[in-house]
Amino acid sequence: MSTEDELARVVRDHAGRLAGALVSLLGDFSAAEDLVQDAVEIALKRWPVEGIPERPDAWLFTVAKRRGLDVLRRQQNYRLKLALLPPPEQSPPDDRLRLIFTCCHPALAREAQVALTLRVVCGLTTAQIAAAFLASESAVAQRITRAKRKITDAGIPYRIPRDDELPERLNEVLTVIYLLFNEGYLSSTAERAHSRDLVDDAEWLTALLHGLLPNEPEVAGLLALIRLHRARTAARFTPAGDLILLEDQDRTAWDHAAIADATALLTRTARRYHAPGPYQLQAAIAACHSEAPTWPETDWPQILVLYDMLLTLQPTSVAGLHRSIALSYVRGPAAALAELDEMAAGLQQYSLFHATRAQLLRDLDRLAEAHDADERAAELTANPAQLGLLNERLAR
């Protein structure tokens, strides 16, 4: 592990905890978050030079407290509260769950939820978030400032939602994490290996959530889904950094121990709760792929059933698109193409739709149409790894 990765990990393990404790103490989300962010910025400057302290939590705590006493000196009540803050060795109850629900409150815009969660719960700096999303630092900073102001001014609470509200609110949190995971997974290339690994943050967040809410089957489902995908990381790119499709990957390079663990988690969850949701179903599909010794030996009928269940719960055109791929292996490319073309209206702007059509058309020997579809797919993606793959097909 590089020093930079280690630094990121240590900060992530402690920054959210400190933020949670400080928000509880001050009752002011914005002020507490500023103090933690300051402490993180100072840590990122000093730790690479001085080394990571033996007790990073105590270090961050001391810096944030000192900074708070300094910055908030005019607010007498905050000073008193800060003076009372117990040091972290007395380990207060984990406030991070409340923190997560506040950051992912449905009254905040989706991109604000994402940026806030990364900054407040995972301890990323504004610069790191901007780099991960290829956005300008000032745009991200503005988004965060606006979101924090809304939390205070609109009275967004800092607490775990009531039982009757929990399913809806948890779903909001899972959507934010899933988005992070997708963003990280799709944008990861060998070139960008040095940038922040959002997939790692997404897995960490889901594991944290799973620890705090162990009886939520969809949290376990998302965790299994992320771990199953991560288990294939070593086989996803050529040494030159080009994307390798699932069907062409060297399956011996997959992390089979991680696959077994994630599959076991999924099976346990399914047996215990009998409550399949979209994340468990997507994980089950990923598990089918991960357990197949080769691409042709994949259990396509099983995958088709899982997609049908997923579509019942979540009738999205993207899930329909993926289902048509499974269908092509069960009932042939002509049947799949017919179904795919029925969904065309909702998917015209989606690169993978055209890439999948191209694949099916090639299977049917309609090469000129396949070429056109690949061209359209290439026009619609900005992702360098996908573009590389499409251009290679077009050059054939």
Binding site: H105, A107, I156
Partner: protein, 114 residues
């Protein structure tokens, strides 16, 4: 915290409502009164139901006191009434609003402390 709930009508809602029979209209009003009764302890100012958008007049002081016919924003959604509530936080306001039995859109705005 105090919030103002702004009740917003859509054209579709207004048309549907206009097509109701007198008895159905009465029932719709009854449900609204019931909602106000159910939340009486949270309502600090019952506010008002407003007359239709066609009755609105807008004065623009920044344009030489220009007086025009109609609401200040032309759109398919118009504010049709308002109510002030005092609740714990936004989540409580959201819970309250989710049981509102009439028009389909509600904007929740915290009241500024002056």
């Amino acid at each position: 915290m105090k919030y103002v709930l702004m009740f917003i009508e859509t054209e579709e809602f207004a048309t549907e409502f206009a097509a109701l029979s007198p008895a159905e209209k009465e029932e719709a009003y009854r449900r609204v009164y019931q909602w106000f009764d159910d939340h009486a302890d949270k309502i600090t100012n019952r506010g008002s139901k407003l007359q239709g958008r066609e009755t609105a007049t807008t004065v623009r002081l920044d344009s030489g006191q220009l007086t025009t016919d109609g609401p200040f924003i032309e759109g398919k959604e118009v504010v049709s009434g308002f109510t002030e509530i005092d609740v714990e936080d936004l989540d409580e306001a959201l819970r309250m609003v989710k049981t509102w039995p009439a028009c389909p859109v509600i904007e929740i705005r915290p009241v500024a402390e002056m």
